[in-house]
């Protein structure tokens, strides 16, 4: 046991690797068993629609609770207190959008991808191209954030500090992920999510109960101790420790909140999960279970975050390798020694692995189904060829994720997740809602809404302090920032709604009224699906 060295390395890298290895072996076995019959497109993309609402709900939370959620939020609460908790609330409340407005209707209207819903009553080619573009961009950004985070986790948990060694580990993680997707298709990937979500939830609940027990089940005592051991003191119990510094940072926080709550319903890998269940009622149950598991998870991270501040202390966390991200593993070491640390480490890896697998299958489905089958082959592609293209795309996407992860390793990419949410909220949510609820919405409205949202997001980020003009910018030395916030949501979300509206009203395009009626009937009743 290498104990608490000055470098902040804790736990036993060998044990961590062994626990993670066990997870990989078990999940690979499950994936192999699940995936033996992945021959049709419905099997590969949507697991034949054979999962129950409960299973899919747990898998949804598995897809949604990324390493950023687990390590990131626990760390943010440990260091900045209440402001970290604000993230959790946005992530959770966002699911109501899915529950009320999206899940059942999307399930009833589409078959495999977000493009199915958006292109339902529009001109197929341009709309599918837009949907695929947005899916690929969002998935890639989200994936890059996960893979780049993997480097930090590797350094922290496996004691691999050289860039070469980290690159090797990232490659191995990526290759395992590709295996999951190729062998298991959607069914195998879903099982990986379920297993991972179950372990993650069990792990955080046990830690929470233990922590509360240690403080005599008094949250107040835990909070007092957390404040006492944090350099920011009592301020961590109130909002504003991180976002309240300047009026601009407060506005940035509001922008982020908007992106979080409106983004979850536009994330392609979340939308795609609704196709893995047999009907709308099961899609509804999926969201119910997802909300249930995530409520437990986010409340637990609140206790874990403050617990890390109370038992480990903010100074020690910030001096560890991985800084904020180290809060949860350090706390696990503090309360459960190397074994619990090993479990938490394995969970963190499993999380990265599973989330990237979910993103990869979404990206590959969108390319194969929207671009190959519907744009290039005009909807007449042979199913076997389509699945072949999807598998090939999965490999390409996986390799891109590995390369991107290695290049972005060590960069400050936390903003990428927030950015993916902003993209999803700007490009996808507006067009999905218009498409489901506004009869006049037409092809040019869809294109304006999607590209308007995407373009305004990209422009705003390019001219934001994320790229230039602040000490943490990607580009240093030059300052061309014009937009003061680092999150584009507060501008780009309204822009996409306005673009979608104007694009519809100003164009000479006519919506297809018969198709619109069919879509209304199908989305509410599931007839024809």
């Amino acid at each position: 046991m290498s104990a608490l060295a000055q470098g902040g390395q804790v736990g036993d890298p060998v044990l961590n690797t062994v626990v993670f290895g066990a997870f990989v072996v078990i999940t690979l076995y499950v994936v192999y068993r699940a995936g033996s019959r992945n021959t049709s497109t419905a099997d590969y993309y949507a697991a034949g629609g054979a999962f129950t609402g409960v299973q899919n709900g747990i898998a949804l939370s598995g897809d949604f609770l990324s390493a950023a959620s687990f390590l990131g939020i626990a760390g943010a609460i440990a260091i900045n207190g209440y402001d970290g908790f604000l993230y959790s609330i946005g992530f959770l409340v966002a699911w109501l959008v899915n529950l009320l407005l999206i899940a059942e209707l999307v399930r009833n209207t589409g078959r495999f991808t977000m493009g199915d819903v958006l292109a339902f009553r529009m001109r197929q080619r341009p709309v599918r191209a837009a949907a695929a573009t947005s899916t690929l961009v969002i998935s890639f950004f989200y994936m890059l954030a996960q893979m780049a985070g993997a480097g930090a986790v590797v350094a922290l948990l496996l004691d691999v500090h050289g860039k070469g060694g980290q690159a090797l580990v990232i490659s191995v993680v990526g290759l395992i992920m590709i295996c999951y997707v190729l062998v298991g298709g959607m069914k195998g990937t879903t099982w990986v999510q379920i297993i991972k979500a179950a372990i993650l939830l069990l792990c955080v609940v046990l830690m929470t109960v233990f922590l509360l027990g240690k403080f005599g089940f008094s949250l107040s005592a835990l909070l007092d101790q957390a404040a006492a051991n944090n350099t920011k003191g009592e301020k961590i119990l109130d909002p504003g420790a991180q976002y309240g510094k300047t009026p601009i940072s407060t506005l940035d926080f509001i922008s982020l909140s908007l992106a979080l709550i409106l983004g979850a319903a536009g994330l392609p890998h979340v939308l795609m999960r609704f196709y893995t269940v047999p009907d709308a009622r099961q899609a509804r149950r999926s969201v119910v279970w997802a909300v249930g598991t995530m409520s437990v998870f986010y409340l637990a991270t609140l206790v874990i975050g403050y617990g890390a501040s109370a038992l480990v202390g903010s100074e020690k966390i910030l001096s560890a390798t991985g800084r904020e991200n180290a809060a949860a593993p350090l706390l696990a070491f503090e309360i459960g020694g190397t074994v619990l640390m090993g479990v938490v480490a394995a969970v963190a890896f499993a999380t990265i692995l599973a989330v990237v697998a979910g993103l990869t299958i979404t990206a590959s489905a969108s390319f194969a189904h929207d671009v190959y089958a519907n744009i290039l082959r005009g909807g007449k592609a042979d199913a076997a060829a389509e699945v072949r293209v999807a598998r090939l795309t999965a490999v390409v996407v996986g390799v891109a994720a590995i390369v991107g992860g290695i290049l972005a390793n060590g960069q400050n990419v936390a903003f990428l997740v927030a950015l993916a949410f902003a993209f999803a909220a700007s490009a996808n949510l507006s067009t999905l809602l218009y498409s489901l609820f506004w009869k006049r919405f037409n092809t040019s409205g869809t294109l304006c809404g999607m590209y308007g949202g995407l373009a305004s997001c990209l422009l705003l980020v390019f001219f934001s302090p994320v790229v230039s003009g602040s000490p943490t910018s990607i580009v240093s030395g030059v300052d061309f920032h014009l937009y003061p916030l680092s999150n584009p949501g507060i501008i780009s979300i309204p822009v996409s709604f306005v673009c979608g509206y104007l694009g519809t009203v100003l164009s000479r395009d006519k919506a297809d009224p018969a198709k619109a009626r069919e879509m209304e009937v199908r989305s509410l009743t599931g007839i024809g699906r």
Binding site: V54, Y82, F85, L86, I89, G90, L92, V93, W95, L96, V97, L99, L100, L101, S218, L219, S220, A221, L223, D224, A227, L237, D238, P239, G240, Y243, G244, T250, F253, I254, S257, I261, D279, A280, R281, R284, R285, V287, V288, W289, V291, G292, S295, Y298, L299, F437, A514, R517, E518, E520, V521, R522, L524, T525, G526, I527, G528
Partner: protein, 135 residues
């Protein structure tokens, strides 16, 4: 978990309305096996009522939770002193309001599921039956 869906589903009324689909029936010019006649269903009073009922619930509810969430975010951003008021021990209003967001999310979820099971699912089942779609 708030989910207790399964038991009561069995109690769904045995869809008596099968053949009386708004008195409309298959529209002229549509053969029986070319798929459901969406225009006829869309024009039928059952569907119109179902759509109105669905939208009357989900739109106000969405507006409500969005407004409540935004109010909370704005309080956290601009009313820090208020949020920092201690209620008991180290627990302040901010924390309680945050937990209240969790509670309201769970309550809305449970409420929607309950409502949909009673007011939407039977109607959808009847429409599907009338359209000749087996579940």
């Amino acid at each position: 978990m708030t989910e207790v869906v399964q038991p009561r589903v069995a109690a769904r009324p045995p869809r008596p309305r099968s053949a009386t689909f708004g008195g409309i029936g298959p529209a002229p010019g549509t053969a029986g096996d070319t798929g459901p006649d969406y225009d006829a269903i869309h024009a039928g009073p059952e569907f119109t009522a179902l759509r109105a009922r669905f939208r009357r619930f989900v739109f106000p509810m969405s507006a409500l939770f969005l407004a409540w969430y935004l109010a909370y975010v704005l309080l956290a951003a601009y009313a820090k002193e208020f949020m920092a008021i201690r209620v008991f021990g180290a627990v302040n209003i901010g924390l309680l309001l945050g937990v209240a967001q969790f509670a309201s999310t769970i309550a809305i979820t449970a409420g929607y599921v309950r409502w949909a099971r009673r007011r939407i699912d039977p109607e959808v089942a009847a429409l599907r039956e009338a359209a000749g779609v087996e579940r």
